[in-house]
Amino acid sequence: MLVYILLGAVLLILLWLLVTYNSLVVLRNRVREAWSQIDVQLKRRSSLIPNLIETVKGYVKHEKGVLVEVTKARTALMGAKNPHEAAAADNVLTGALKSLFAVAESYPQLKASENFKKLQDELSDTETKVAASRQFYNTNVLDLNNSLETIPSAWVGQAFSFKKEEFFKTTEKEKADIEVKF
């Protein structure tokens, strides 16, 4: 009798181990998938840039340097090897675009161009999408980290050396931009 009870207990523990391990794997994969979603939005953003440059080139006479900055930032973004590099490059691109749009302010014809308006709208929409995919990423990181820090799943996490992920934090500069907006 005692043997069966012990056997049952061991079986239950094994089952719990299995379920917990699998759920940790699922959480980790979700975090990875969420990263790739950020990447999708960043790609989308960089694919809009050549069109923008092409449109602006015809109008802007003096401040060509701004265009160079944007192109450089885009190249850096395209060549980013890992998510952290991509995040940094994206921040640079955001800054470069900001100064480009500031320059555009002094060219009424450019501002009136339908194509330019459309690109501006699309770029700002993509920016929101990047932010949204970051938010989703952070939600998933929170789920994973919660599991890895709360008992008893934390024990399983330690046993199989799962690692906590880092939240996607915006840079200080971006934070300042947001503060201005509100």
Partner: protein, 308 residues
């Protein structure tokens, strides 16, 4: 008393309360079924057989309305689907919130009506749809609209169509079984009940009369819980609970009734579209599909720290 503060706390407390309600509802259902089956007195198998029949019937009926929930409701509400190019701004608003929620983009419908309301439907996120009246698009600003859409997407993400369908099956089973029993008392002779002991017949009679009402009240309690939950999950999406709070204020103070809504679809909308007297008081409250707007706004304000 624990202080409920952030949207996270509201989400977990509402999920927990849903489980508590469902737990007691299950026990209640089993109890009612047991009493009625005994009251039938066909012996174990016969009575349970009839209750089983009630379960299967309720299951089938609800499966139809669950599986084709989107088609049925959207058809009744005369909603027209819109594509990306027809209303880019709205489409992007929905799409961006979906990215943040990790949901596929639902089909988007517009109901041509100047009333302000919205609902979500569909058996799972892949088959989900959200509908907005043209009135709500005109009268709400972007942040308020974002709040409303986040609330609807949260219904989708929280699988509320499934939750409510499950509850409906239990309510339907109790209602049908009670109905069978009352009919059998009416038409059936004594001989049929000969095997059921007298005490169980009396108990079953009481259960058959009271249980359907109690079950409906529980169903409404679950519905209100899910509204609170969708408000809180929506607040987590937009991180701006005030948007939804302002929208609820606007929608509820807009007295215009929605023509296409009826008693069958009223529970789906973000605010009850049948704008009856908004009489307060707990007795009336028990029969509402939605919590009072004031309570929802108070909960949302609590998330921002405006209320303690």
């Amino acid at each position: 008393m624990a202080t409920v503060n952030t949207a996270w706390d509201h989400v977990s407390s509402n999920i927990f309360k849903t489980w508590v309600i469902m737990f007691f509802f299950s026990i209640f259902t089993v109890g009612v079924i047991y009493v009625i089956a005994q009251g039938f007195g066909y012996g174990e198998v016969g009575g349970l057989g009839l209750v089983g029949f009630a379960l299967i019937m309720a299951g089938l009926m609800n499966f139809v309305s669950y599986y084709w929930s989107d088609k049925i409701v959207l058809g009744i509400s005369r909603a027209k689907q819109i594509k990306h190019d027809e209303n880019q701004e709205l489409y992007h608003l929905v799409e961006n919130l979906c990215i943040a929620a990790g949901l596929p983009v639902p089909r988007i419908y517009i109901i041509e009506d100047s009333a302000t309301n919205a609902f979500a439907t569909g058996r799972n996120p892949k088959n989900s749809a959200i509908a907005l009246t043209s009135g709500i698009l005109q009268k709400l600003n972007k942040q308020e609209l974002e709040g409303v859409i986040a609330h609807e997407l949260s219904h989708v993400g929280n699988r509320d169509t499934l939750v409510m369908a499950t509850v409906s099956v239990l309510v339907g089973t109790i209602a049908l079984a009670s109905d069978f029993f009352l009919r059998s008392m009416w038409f059936g002779g004594r001989d049929r009940n000969s095997k059921g002991s007298a005490i169980f017949v009396v108990l079953a009679l009481i259960a058959a009369i009271l249980a359907p009402i109690i079950a409906t009240l529980i169903q409404l309690a679950v519905s209100r819980r899910r509204e609170f939950l969708a408000d809180a999950s929506g607040a987590l999406l937009t991180r701006y609970p005030q948007g939804l709070a302002q929208a609820l204020q606007k929608i509820s103070s807009d007295r215009e009734p929605l023509e296409v809504a009826n008693r069958g679809t009223a529970h789906l909308y973000i605010v009850n579209p049948l704008k009856g007297k908004n009489a307060a008081g707990w007795l009336v409250g028990l029969f509402n599909t939605h919590p009072p707007v004031e309570a929802r706004i108070k909960a949302l304000n609590e998330m921002v720290g405006l209320v303690r």
